[in-house]
């Protein structure tokens, strides 16, 4: 009897929390089909699926452009991160060189510095180099990451040393080893880095906001933020814009949901 009460309470609680988690997104989608009048009359469900808000939003701000900018920068910075990270971890794990220990120590220290402390001086650097409002400026600082180097390091350390020795004895170059052995064998780790780096790039806000003032160079996050400020209290339009920016990443999430969750868990636990 007592356990039944527990179970029912638990079910109610989970249902409630699921509602609280999902409702904002469902409501966002509903409001995007509402008129202002429908919204202020506190209706939950729109009377019809009228796309006029979407037309208006896309007419007012170039969200398509923001979307393409975001895809472009997130993809490029992910690919660059993968390259720099794989090369660096290979050097750290498979090669011995003087200064390795000290270098690793310095990197561990850098790991402790919060991004927000660095971002403003990076902005000065990019501004001084004249890279404001350029893709290079948006991408460059996120083309290498201490965090991912350490993550892949811990991943590669589990790989047998003799794999590399065998490749050397039979005459494979380091590049051949990286392409034919290292990358296929560390696929899960590399996927994790790729997924997390892409999501990071997709959601980045502070950096594009500092680096871009040309509306053509905006990414989805700062584009949405700017749009919200322009439209102040026109919530149906804002929710439409929010829906437009959220749908792609939600689709992406549902395709890769298991990989994304295990990536977050793996990097989380490793720390």
């Amino acid at each position: 009897m007592q356990s039944k009460i527990w179970a029912i309470t638990a079910y109610i609680f989970i249902t409630l929390m699921t509602l609280i988690t999902l409702f904002p997104f469902v409501y966002m989608a509903f409001v995007s089909f509402m008129t202002y009048e429908e919204l202020i009359s506190l209706k939950l469900i729109p009377s019809g699926f009228d796309l006029s808000n979407y037309k208006e939003v896309l007419g007012q701000a170039s969200f398509v452009r923001y979307f393409l900018n975001t895809v472009y920068t997130a993809t490029l910075s992910t690919l660059a991160t993968l390259c720099t990270t794989i090369l660096a971890t290979f050097a750290f794990v498979k090669l011995n060189f003087p200064g390795k220990k000290i270098l690793l120590m310095i990197l561990v220290c850098l790991l402790m510095v919060p991004y927000e402390v660095l971002v403003f001086c990076n902005y000065l650097t990019i501004a001084q180099w004249g890279l404001m409002n350029t893709y290079t400026g948006l991408i460059l600082p996120s083309t290498a990451s201490v965090f991912y180097i350490f993550y892949l390091n811990s991943f590669l350390k589990m790989m047998s040393v003799t794999y590399y020795e065998r490749a050397r004895v039979v005459g494979a170059s380091d590049l051949e080893f990286i392409v034919k052995i290292l990358i296929p064998l560390s696929k899960p780790g590399i996927c994790t880095v790729a997924l997390l780096s892409f999501i990071d790039g997709w959601n980045s806000f502070l950096w594009p906001m500092l680096i871009t003032n040309d509306s053509n160079m905006r990414l989805l996050s700062d584009g949405l933020s700017a749009f919200s400020m322009q439209t102040d209290r026109d919530f149906p339009l804002q929710m439409t814009a929010t829906t437009i920016t959220t749908i792609p990443i939600v689709i992406f999430y549902f395709i890769f949901r298991n990989q994304i969750i295990s990536s977050v868990v793996n990097t989380g636990i490793k720390n």
């Binding site: 409501y27 966002m28 390259c83 991004y115 660095l118 001086c121 929010t242």
Partner: protein
């Protein structure tokens, strides 16, 4: 010799970026914090920026808000997550479905989540005030009342923090040693006792880890404030946080030196916190 040359060569792409965008900005932050604020004609002014910042009541407000935010969001978020994770762990069938649902907010950008909450929390036609109305509670002015601004950010912070915590806790629960439970069932312990006496102590390392991560993330909040209040830090800076303060000094009023002095202070606070946390963790694991 040739081998170490090769190693440095392979490291160079990553190292150059890390030096330019991690190491140098750190040095520059410290350097600028001792300089007068204008960029063109700056000179060494010693600790003046630090004194200005430390005596600035708005900075006190920012640190106070950040601390209160962390003290509220971290434990409450963790407890709710723990309850959800513990219940979900008993769900055999739909566990993964719920995990996917609860984790979803984590991957959506803060700006998007913030703009939805700006609507939900609206005084006149926000759903939340509407629901509170059913219980005869007067509408709360979440967005335009300086007294409530911090609470608004805290609610949003708790809601946002659940996904990550739940996923990590669930993975911790899945790795627990099931033998203890068989033993406990044999001894006749009920579900609640089992959770309290067996599950919780085993989860302790993961909970400490989540405490650290959540605390550090709390110290860094900025985007949440910016988006909920649509580009402001609440009415009259009532919801200002440490990072927002740095942003404001640096980017809005262009007082670089003071902004960087605040950044150094924030970094020091996080560093001290991390060290203390590590010492506690080491003590916990040694036992």
């Amino acid at each position: 010799m040739r081998k170490s040359l090769k190693a440095w060569f392979l490291l160079s792409p990553a190292l150059i970026i890390i030096i330019l965008f991690n190491l140098l900005p750190l040095a520059r932050t410290v350097f600028l914090s001792f300089q007068s604020s204008s960029l063109n004609n700056s000179h060494f002014i010693g600790l003046e920026n630090y004194i200005t910042v430390l005596t600035d009541s708005r900075f006190h407000q920012a640190i106070y808000n950040t601390a209160i935010y962390a003290l509220a969001v971290v434990p409450i978020g963790l407890i709710i997550s723990l309850i959800i994770a513990a219940i979900l762990y008993d769900f055999k069938k739909f566990q993964v479905v719920f995990e996917v649902i609860f984790f979803m907010p984590y991957i959506i950008s803060t700006v998007a989540k913030g703009s939805i909450f700006r609507l939900l929390l609206n005084e006149d036609y926000g759903i939340i005030n509407n629901i509170l109305g059913w219980f005869n509670i007067m509408p709360i002015n979440f967005l335009d009342d300086p007294e409530i601004a911090l609470l608004t950010i805290i609610i949003f912070g708790i809601w946002s923090s659940l996904g990550f915590n739940i996923v990590i806790l669930l993975s911790g629960l899945r790795n627990l040693n099931s033998q203890y439970y068989k033993m406990a069932s044999v001894c006749g312990a009920n579900k609640f006792q089992q959770f309290w006496l067996i599950t919780l102590p085993q989860l302790l390392p993961i909970i400490t880890f989540l405490l650290t991560v959540n605390c550090i993330n709390s110290f860094r909040i900025y985007t949440e404030v910016y988006t909920i209040f649509n580009g402001k830090a609440g009415i009259g800076y009532s919801a200002i946080t440490a990072v927002y303060y740095i942003y404001d000094k640096f980017y809005v009023v262009n007082r670089y030196g003071e902004g960087m002095a605040a950044a150094v202070i924030l970094f020091m606070l996080i560093l001290i916190f991390t060290i203390i946390q590590n010492l506690i963790l080491r003590k916990l694991t040694r036992r």
